[in-house]
């Protein structure tokens, strides 16, 4: 028998109580793992050596359009290294319930700007460039709908209408991207902007965003300001941010994401703190006589203090590891669905934060009962039932 075993036996002496407390902690860390992991993914910065992408969009919000001519002006600006444009297509396959993340791009510029990011073979790239109806799809999306190279599939839009009144565009699967380290899962499609623009009846020569890199990260702020200033007196004004901030603004339509997440996680933990703290105080009080006996045998006050803290930390870990693990797994599952870009590269930071929180939760909830036990007078304790 070790001290840890003794702590374990004390913790699980009342199995129902231990189970319910673990469940409460499980829920708190499930919320933590999911929400904080989500926030972390949105805040993900580019890897070392990788240039941060910048995004120029309509100042009102990203659902509004900007004129195509802006793209040519941005591309020609000093400090802009490489650029491409993208236009939200509002796409679905056959039925609106089969929503697909889709953008119209210039294939040549898109491939040039994204080289190395997606798993693209030269042969497939050539095929996409050669066919205006060609479409690039992610492997995961192709697998989901059973698409193969050369298949012609109807892709509909919930925004645009063709001159014949239909909202469906026949498209040929020209390129299926392989997973890469940068983009391990991709459930999006990219169509040819020219093909869309010439056939749509509205919003002609309009694009959603211009995405570009600068010659140096030091120039990012300067170039962003220059772009926005140059369109400041135009009918359509722009807002230029980093891609990270853009991704976050995509979600921020719901509100201040960080504030909401902080509030929800905070509320969950304060509640758990009170529940566990109170339960542990009662649990240790029930054990007053046993603690007095242990002290009589020779367990020092400090040792008793440490053992009770170990018990609450252990409790915190039992529910916490499980809750956070499932929370992060859920997040990865959502990420694989591909609707929201959620890079999981830095999820280990959330895991570390979670472990730190588990230790903190255990120490805080255990402090008062541990302190009371440490101070317990042996004679008083032995006299209590």
């Amino acid at each position: 028998m070790s001290e840890l075993f003794l702590v374990y036996k004390n913790l699980f002496r009342k199995k129902l109580r231990a189970f319910l407390l673990s469940l409460a902690i499980f829920v708190a860390f499930l919320i933590f793992g999911t929400l904080v992991g989500f926030n972390q993914a949105l805040d993900l910065k580019p890897r070392d050596g990788e240039a941060e992408r910048m995004v120029t969009m309509n100042k009102v919000n990203f659902t509004q359009f900007i004129p195509y001519s802006y793209y040519n002006r941005i591309k020609a600006m000093d400090g802009v290294k490489q650029a491409f444009h993208q236009t939200w297509f509002g796409s679905y396959y056959r039925e609106p319930k089969n929503f697909v993340l889709g953008f119209a791009v210039n294939p040549e510029e898109f491939i040039a700007a994204s080289s190395g990011r997606y798993g693209i073979t030269e042969e497939q790239a050539t095929a996409w460039l050669a066919d205006r109806t060609g479409v690039m799809v992610g492997q995961d999306l192709a697998d989901e709908f059973g698409w193969k190279l050369g298949d012609v599939v109807p892709i509909s839009s919930n925004i645009y209408t063709r001159s014949d009144g239909s909202q469906s565009w026949p498209m040929k699967i020209a390129l299926i991207t392989a997973p890469t380290k940068a983009v391990p899962t991709m459930k999006a499609l990219f169509i040819n902007y020219e093909y869309l623009n010439e056939s749509r009846t509205s919003l002609k020569d309009q694009i959603s965003q211009v995405i570009f890199t600068t010659n140096s990260p030091d120039l990012d702020d300067l170039v962003a300001k220059k772009i926005d200033d140059s369109f400041a007196n135009s009918s359509v004004q722009t807002r230029t941010t980093t891609a990270t901030a853009f991704n976050k603004s995509f979600i921020a339509q719901l509100g201040n994401v960080t504030l909401i997440i902080t509030a929800v996680v905070g509320a969950a933990f304060v509640s758990i703190l009170l529940v566990i703290g109170n339960t542990m105080i009662m649990a240790i009080r029930e054990r007053t006589r046993e603690i007095a006996v242990m002290k009589t045998i020779g367990f020092s006050a400090q040792r008793i203090f440490r053992m009770i803290l170990m018990e609450t930390v252990m409790l915190s870990f039992v529910g916490g590891i499980l809750g956070m693990g499932i929370g992060i797994y859920l997040l990865m599952f959502v990420s694989r669905l591909g609707f929201i870009p959620l890079p999981m590269d830095n999820i280990w930071i959330v895991a570390l934060q979670g472990v730190g929180l588990m230790v903190a939760l255990g120490l805080i909830t255990g402090f008062i009962p541990a302190y009371n036990a440490m101070r317990l007078n042996i004679v008083t304790g032995l006299g209590r039932d």
């Binding site: 028998m1 006996v293 045998i297 367990f299 042996i378 032995l382």
Partner: protein, 230 residues
């Protein structure tokens, strides 16, 4: 019997309760030689248990000196007292005070967690202690699966497993029937005679006191002594 193992010199114990000061005893002197088996009797409130607590270092005297094997116990800090108790004193209580979530063997092993003994050595000592109290076949049983007498034997095994010089017993047979009490008391005699444990036992029961080498009556803060030949 040799020089005193325990010596109380001019020991007083007073409690303050509200505005009232309650004196349990004053200027008490006592010597218990190594290898003695002493029963302490007396009316309720005479301070028997308090005396036992002072000897065992779980309570502090208001004044006076308490020495154990020539060393001042009353001068030790709380931490030093805890160490001293784990090495020198085995406690046996009226209501056994076993840990309900541990089986008999683990209960007996509890004091050994405070030592640096290996797991193998701890196991060996636990087996020996359970054999001494004739309960080797109940090692895996939890306290709730044992009778009162068996639980008290486990408590005795726990008290002797770290081989202390002294056993302090507070009404050890108070919760047992006559036959079981006699078995437990014979065990104390055995521990006293064969293993030379110094035993101090507080009891109300004159029959139990007969098993001791001598009986001290504590009343109104003073001792009277009766020697029993065993």
């Amino acid at each position: 019997m040799n020089e005193p193992l325990i010596k109380l010199h001019d020991v007083s114990k007073r409690f303050v309760k509200g505005k009232e000061t309650i004196t349990i005893f004053e200027h008490l002197n006592l010597e218990i030689p190594r290898g003695d088996f002493v029963a302490i009797m007396g009316p309720s409130g005479s301070g028997k248990t308090t005396l036992l607590n002072l000897i065992g270092g779980i309570d502090r005297a208001t004044s006076g000196e308490i020495t154990f094997d020539g060393n001042r116990v009353d001068k030790l800090t709380e931490g030093q007292l805890a160490n001293w108790r784990s090495s020198n004193v085995g406690f046996i209580f009226q209501f056994y005070n076993l840990m309900p979530m541990l089986n008999a063997a683990k209960n007996v092993e509890l004091p050994l967690l405070l030592t640096n003994l290996s797991a193998t050595e701890r196991k060996r000592r636990v087996e020996t202690a359970l054999s001494v109290v004739q309960l080797p076949d109940r090692a895996r049983h939890s306290p709730s699966e044992l009778s009162g007498g068996q639980q008290q034997r486990v408590a005795i095994a726990r008290a002797i497993v770290s081989d202390p010089l002294m056993l302090l017993c507070d009404e050890p047979t108070g919760d047992l029937d006559r036959n079981t009490a006699d078995e437990i008391l014979k065990m104390f005699q055995l521990l006293n005679r064969e293993l030379e444990k110094t035993i101090v036992m507080v009891t109300h029961d004159p029959e139990a006191a007969k098993y001791a080498r001598r009986t001290l009556h504590l009343d109104k803060g003073h001792f009277t002594e009766k020697v029993t030949t065993i």
